[in-house]
Symmetry: C2
Amino acid sequence: MSKSTPTPPAAIDAWARLQRASGAVLARVETRLKADGFPPLGWYDVLLELSRAEDRTLRPVEIEKRMLLAQYNVSRLLDRLAAAGYIEKLKSPEDGRGVSVRVTSEGEALLKAMWPCYQAAVEAEFTNHLEPGDAETLWDVLGRLVR
Amino acid sequence: MSKSTPTPPAAIDAWARLQRASGAVLARVETRLKADGFPPLGWYDVLLELSRAEDRTLRPVEIEKRMLLAQYNVSRLLDRLAAAGYIEKLKSPEDGRGVSVRVTSEGEALLKAMWPCYQAAVEAEFTNHLEPGDAETLWDVLGRLVR
DNA sequence: TCAAGATTGATGCACTTGCATAAATTTTCT
DNA sequence: AGAAAATTTATGCAAGTGCATCAATCTTGA
């Protein structure tokens, strides 16, 4: 009988593969988007969160939590989106420190325009490689990692 | 009966969660390494691949394939590792274009020094959140994504 | 054999990210 | 209420990444 190691090798292997696989697939999806002249996925994600939100509006700190991004990262991503006209920043009515961010109609339009390409990319690079039930399995297991 | 959608929602959700979860956990692990004064994970990964390789030596293009990184990314990562003295670049004997990269003893030492911190970080941020069997499940499912 | 094409690796440039920290509020606690 | 602590957002600067492209070599195939 062998004593159990502090971290079972299977866990480290799974960890390493998680990083390699998700990074590689992300890169492939981003490449497809770029090939069709679209902005990076992060832009899509922000716009999607906003379009789903109450009043199509969120505080940056909310976006930060939902997308699990660093604060300064969100701040600058929103700068770029605003500069491109896809969102607008308003003074937050409730919180004097804060900002409120709303999707513009251009933003909604971009979301619609990107969707077919995005969907096709995820299908080609992700979904098509899975077997039945894999998606649900991933959802469950990964759910434990995001608390 | 509903017609099946082109991409089932479960797949998109799994995709999104894969990106968020792996990104977030990676960030947490990197933070722990940095907190202990260690270089980024990529450094560890390169050194590990090298230390396992024949003659502790690999061609950059091999590292590229194993780590699923972009070519220019590998090139510069190796520059940094070489500048820090953890690897050395040799002219490839077989291929006049190529380079051969070998871990130095400092590189091996760094690998050893980082391991406890790395292991603890993965355990805290990843392994501890999993249930029995999850690691194997992830390994299987993600294996389909890396071909 | 030798020209056309593919592979290997590096690099200039623009853009993005990370870090540390600032500035303005808001919240908490006494 | 008022001081101390926490929260929200922005930003200067250094470091890393992506893109396009180059130069050198190797491989293919007529």
